[in-house]
């Protein structure tokens, strides 16, 4: 050892780009992350890579023409987005869709919720290093995709809902398809639950990681499973029942911890609740028409409306302003992923790189839903 006093080792923070091309950013998302070793000092989301002017496009299209665009921003919840938009226009017009339509819309939205949570489950397994869950989740999702294809003809983009109704009624044999899914899926869900949720390593990776308090969550406008994972029971389906949600019984699962594990458990439980809703809807499904009488040319009275539905990611809002013409004067989407993402820097600061990935995955963001 030399006697001369050595200067202390100089250390430097490193700045890395997570994205826009990165295996775990769930689409084209970019974060500039400042690291001190493995510890995250700062995280700045850079968004806008998938901005597609959906709000401006709405101003150039007649009310009925825009429906096909709603599938495209939160592509995991296509039918749910259509539901939100269609309900907004219906409120603007004062149209009441027939009861069968309401049931079918609810049914499709709930199936879509299961399918979206399955994508979450698979990708979250991937984010935490358990690759196999992904394939098992997508195998089950395939059954749901087949159902959507049978009803709407599309597997991802549907264009199925209409102002005041639906494009077509359910096909024959659809009941059996759903029933066989209801029978087949719960044990598979529990199997995946055993594989991932009950794994000690998975729990160690998610418990106490990405902490968010209820106050923080509310101040950032966080909604959906992320907010319910902070112990706040906030669900549009219960608070302001729309479609046929007032006809069915279900629970809103909440977990108070506010960490990644709580958010994961909320989603797992939501899938079970959705199955419960689907079962009740099938039992109570009324007969009748699926399309209300609406004028060919839709010209709502001047006015504005804000319609909210519960998407798998949180509160999805559609704000429409009509100036009395056949096109909206202004439209705005409240994409839940955008608001949920704002809380991310708060949640990951001081954590490790691995925590950042686990936290981002637990928000279940959909990149076009952030940018719209």
């Amino acid at each position: 050892m030399s006697e001369t006093a050595q200067a202390p080792l100089r250390t430097e923070d490193i700045t890395v780009n997570v994205g826009p091309q990165h295996p775990s950013t769930h689409g084209v998302l970019r974060f500039v992350v400042t690291l001190e070793g493995e510890t995250i000092r700062e995280c700045v989301p850079h968004i806008g890579y998938l901005h597609s002017s959906l709000e401006k496009i709405a101003e150039t299209l007649r009310f009925g023409q825009y429906i096909t665009n709603t599938d495209r921003f939160d592509y995991l919840n296509g039918l749910g987005n259509e539901l939100c938009y269609v309900q907004a226009v219906e409120r603007l017009l004062g149209v009441e869709p027939p009861p069968r339509t309401q049931f079918i819309r609810t049914l499709m939205a709930e199936l879509k919720r299961i399918s979206s949570h399955l994508v979450y489950l698979g990708t979250y397994g991937n984010d935490t290093g358990a690759v196999t869950v992904f394939l098992h989740a997508f195998r089950e999702r395939e059954l749901l995709m087949n159902m959507f294809e049978a009803v709407t003809g599309g597997r991802l983009l549907y264009n199925y809902l209409r102002i005041g109704g639906l494009r077509n009624d359910l096909p024959t044999g659809f009941d059996e398809q759903v029933c066989s899914f209801l029978e087949h899926f719960p044990p598979r869900l529990e199997e995946m639950n055993d594989l991932l949720t009950k794994n000690r390593i998975f729990i160690a990776r998610t418990r106490g990681v990405g902490l968010l308090t209820a106050e923080q969550a509310l101040s950032y406008g966080v909604t959906g499973p992320t907010l319910r994972g902070c112990g706040v029971s906030y669900d549009m389906r219960k608070l302001r029942p729309y479609a046929a949600y007032d006809q069915v019984e279900f629970d809103v699962p909440t977990f108070p911890e506010g960490d990644c594990l709580a958010r994961h458990l909320v989603r797992m439980e939501e899938m079970r609740q959705s199955l419960r809703i689907v079962r009740q809807l099938l039992d109570k499904m009324p007969d009748g028409e699926v399309q209300a009488d609406v004028p060919r040319r839709l010209k709502p009275e001047p006015g504005e409306v804000y319609e909210r539905v519960e998407s798998p990611r949180g509160e999805l809002g559609c704000y429409l302003v009509s100036d009395g013409s056949d096109k909206p004067y202004r439209m705005h989407w409240r994409g839940p992923s955008f608001y949920n993402l704002q809380a991310l820097p708060e949640m990951v600061r001081g954590g490790l790189v691995a925590d950042f990935i686990a936290t981002l995955g637990s928000l279940d963001p959909v990149a076009p839903d952030i940018d719209r």
Partner: protein, 366 residues
Amino acid sequence: MASSLVHTILSTIRIWAENLAGRWGIPPLFVSILAWIAAFVFVIVLVLLMVLLAVYLERKVSGYIQSRLGPMRVGPIGLFQTPMDALKILSKEDIVPRGADKIMHTIGPVFFFVAVVIGYVVIPWDHGAIAARVVDLNIGILLIVAVSSLGLLGIMVGGWGSNNKWSLLGAMRAVAQMISYEVALLLAIVCVVVQAGSMSLSVITADQSGTLLEWNILRWWLWPALLLYAIASIAESKRVPFDIPEAESELVAGYHTEYSGMKFGFFFLGEYAHLFIIALIGAVLFLGGWQSPLPASVADPIPGFVWLMGKALAIIVVTMWIRWTLPRLRVDQLMEFAWKGLVPLGFVAIMVTGLAVALGLGGGGM
């Protein structure tokens, strides 16, 4: 007695070389050197074949676990898929990123691969003559451990020389992880060495000769060491749940992010070669090496070479099963597990083994 396959191959090479030398009048020293080179070529070919086998196996096992088929199109049940991929990787462009240290970037993967391959020379493939392995060192196991830690240098150099922050992070993680788990691995190996009384892999194998009950896996005082070896060896080969140096979802591809073509191929080969050698050592240390589990009275038609490979493959399938089932640990949890869990367990294992040997339960080779 079944003929020693490896022995035959190696002595054929030697005889061929000597004949050739006699005909051409080459001095004997030169012949020895040539024979050594031939032996090394043999080892490399062996390693490559094993890697092909392991990669194919990985694809099939993961396919089975993920309810799909795995490769099916190239050749019967997809057997030629891996060789074709190996050919493809040779034809790929070699990209060195701007600002990378070209020399470091090149020697990294080569260093890693060579360090792993050297370990193969001391594996006793079969019974009988000394030539059943390429070299019979009396410190064989020590050589393997020492050389495979050198491979770390290859990872560090490659990660550092890539001029990529993900690579650097991956390399740092790899170094931290492998040094920690090497300690645990060594403690496990020490137990077996105490039991056999030698660091030579042939003596360790011989210590387990006789009936199945003599295998180290069935000697209860070595069970802590077995557990330790099982965990630490998976961590050493950087596989799930300890794959944080590569951690695809976090670090893109870790230390080999910036590698393409055959340079990446060397990392890839080295990784699977490492997996195989870890399994081979596991088979030698705990499963009786090349020895047959059949009782001595039954004539065993299967050569010892096949037994050893079979045991190693069984170990590999188990590690693949683990890999495709478990999530990944976080870097701090990983270090905590090594130093607070495995290292103390290692000391317990050594004490248990030492006591058992001192009380005359074990210690065949002493």
